[in-house]
């Protein structure tokens, strides 16, 4: 690594991967609860397992983004990080706060947790993905702002590149939109309207900027293609993201009680949301094809290409499948949604963070790339996780189609639980595939400890 302070990224990456493992364990718990309803009840009821699973996902991805920023920004800005010490402090604060929150979910009944953490001062709990106690939410804001301060000061004192500009825009956007989690209107329509200003404008908005910046950074490093070419692609991609994604928020406003024109606006604009993802795929493959060097870190390149493909499939294609209002009328809130959600999150955000870690971690450990042996194990991790995610998605899609047919489209609609019984086989298949995913994740973790002939040491 080129700058000493880049080393602060390491604990963030380690925490990210640790929490990722936790997330998957709770995913497997839920997957089993789908078919064995009282598994672990009442110790860990389904809704608690779900909160832990989704919250861990977000927190570990945030650790990943922050680690990525701490690694990328000094190198791009050609100057040391403004305050490595602050980065370390924030690491522990975020980790402890996150751990306490998860412990709170698991050990304390939710209503009691709300009472204990001052939810009556400003009620922010009780909404999907935003279940965190008020103090945790405040903590997230404080950590995020301090992190942004650190990173922004670094960029300000050094070289400004397109990559850092896009990254900063994405990260600041992430922080700004999180503030909407504090806004809890009593009107249910407004409540849902603004909830999406956090969720949609994150994952179909500013997070895509972060994704683009991370992908561009890794491609610049591993392919050696002219920076200007990559930066130009990046600008066009994020422009398309914002143009399609902002009004595309409307595809969440079809049925919540908003005026009917949202069905048109949401459908038309969100239909085009796959375009930036398609461009990212073409971009990644194109850059690798035009590469000027053969970087020894093959697996990082594999992750980069995989991110493009899986993000396009999961977010772009699967998203498109149910984004048009006439289709969504039937599929809303079904297993189709779950199928899309899993592949999209994995393909876009999990994979881009793992791409960055794959590229950066060897350098943080003093080498350009891991040994061939280690890379092969990591590649096993890549393929096992990716292919099993594809199958998880396919099984959930099948479950979703059947569910929608039986429960909504059929001339004799079936009640919810009855339909669930009918699709149980797909849930079993999903769970088995989920175990394969875990095996892939274990292989991935193991790859960090595999020795073998080390590649050329980093300068």
């Amino acid at each position: 690594m080129q700058y000493q302070s880049q080393a602060v990224a390491k604990p963030y990456f380690i925490a990210a991967i640790g929490l990722f493992v936790g997330q998957i364990l709770f995913g497997l718990i839920m997957g089993l609860q789908y078919v064995v309803g009282d598994f672990l009840f009442p110790a860990i009821p389904f809704n608690v397992a779900r909160m832990v699973h989704t919250n861990l996902l977000i927190v570990w991805l945030l650790f990943g983004f922050m680690g990525a920023a701490y690694y990328m920004v000094p190198e791009e800005s050609e100057t040391e990080l403004f305050s490595p010490k602050l980065a370390w402090i924030l690491f522990w604060v975020f980790l402890v706060a996150g751990a306490l929150t998860v412990v709170g979910y698991l050990m304390v009944p939710y209503a009691k947790l709300a009472e204990m953490t001052g939810n009556d001062l400003l009620p922010t709990m009780g909404r999907e993905f935003l279940e965190q106690p008020l103090i945790t939410k405040v903590g997230i804001v404080v950590v995020a702002l301090a992190f942004l301060f650190n990173i922004s000061m670094t960029v300000l004192k050094g070289r400004k590149t397109s990559v850092t500009m896009v990254l900063l825009l994405g990260l600041w956007g992430l922080a700004v939109f999180f503030l909407f989690s504090f806004y809890n209107p009593s009107n249910l329509v407004l409540d849902k309207f603004y909830w999406w200003w956090v969720v949609h404008l994150w994952v179909e908005g500013v997070w895509e900027l972060i994704l683009g910046a991370l992908l561009a950074f890794v491609l610049i490093k591993v392919t050696g293609v002219d920076r200007e070419v990559i930066e130009k692609w990046l600008y066009v991609i994020i422009a398309m993201t914002l143009v399609t994604g902002v009004i595309g928020t409307g595809h969440h406003y079809f049925w919540i009680g908003t005026p009917g024109y949202w069905q048109w606006w949401g459908s038309i604009f969100s239909a085009m949301e796959p375009i930036p993802f398609f461009m990212m795929t073409v971009f990644a493959f194109n850059m690798v094809n035009r590469r000027r060097r053969d970087h020894p870190n093959k697996v990082a390149t594999l992750w980069a290409l995989g991110t493009g493909v899986m993000a396009f499939l999961g977010a772009g294609v699967w998203g498109f499948l149910h984004t048009l209002a006439p289709v969504n009328y039937y599929t809303h809130g079904s297993q189709i949604t779950a199928a899309h959600g899993h592949m999209a999150f994995y393909g876009a955000y999990v994979m881009v963070v793992l791409t960055l870690i794959s590229y950066a971690m060897p350098l943080l450990r003093g080498r350009q790339a891991n040994s061939n042996k280690a890379q092969v194990v990591e590649m096993w991790g890549f393929w096992l996780m990716t292919v099993s995610m594809v199958f998880i998605t396919l099984f959930l899609t099948a479950a979703g189609i059947l569910q929608v047919w039986l429960q909504r489209v059929s001339t004799t609609p079936m009640p919810f639980m009855q339909a669930q019984d009918q699709v149980a086989i797909f849930y079993w298949a999903r769970e088995l595939t989920g175990v394969v995913f875990l095996i892939g994740l274990i292989a991935y973790v193991v790859s960090f400890f595999v020795r073998g002939e080390t590649k050329a040491t980093a300068t």
Partner: protein
Amino acid sequence: MSAPTLPAINSRPPGDLAIWFVIFAELLTFGIFFLSYGFTRAHNVALFDASQQLLDRRTGAINTVLLITSSYFVVRAVAAVKADDSRAAAHWLFAAMGLGAGFILLKLNEFAHGYAAGITLSTNTFYMFYLSLTVFHFLHVVVGLLVLGIIAQKAWTGGYSAAEHTGVETGATYWHMVDMVWIVLFPLVYVIH
């Protein structure tokens, strides 16, 4: 007619490559909107025909003339820059902006009338499309004017030459797209019944 072999530099359309991505994205968006309008109308003919009668077609026609002419002026501006006459280019661009401003004023007037008459996005499906399309297009005209303003200002201070004028072509291309969209929008929404 066999074309002479063009040098490689002409294989790309004029202006920065990035703007052409923007152009096609915009055309795709408006195209989907136009088709949505067409197919929705097919199921609501009476409503669409009746509501359409209340639109101000004459102003729409004048607006068409304004945009077509301003596009023509922009073409003349590009030609002037290619002839190394940056000043003349600026004049043509200012004239184009003037016509664009005329479009803006007429449109604002039209929107004001509609607003006063209580027309909103929720009045009926025709008006939802009419307002969505024309307001969306209006916003692009505003952006286009800003773009023209930037390149006009730079041309005025001699910032472009025959050798280097990609900026002018890029801005011009955007303006032509704005014109092109209106050329379809006007007959579709204001005329055809």
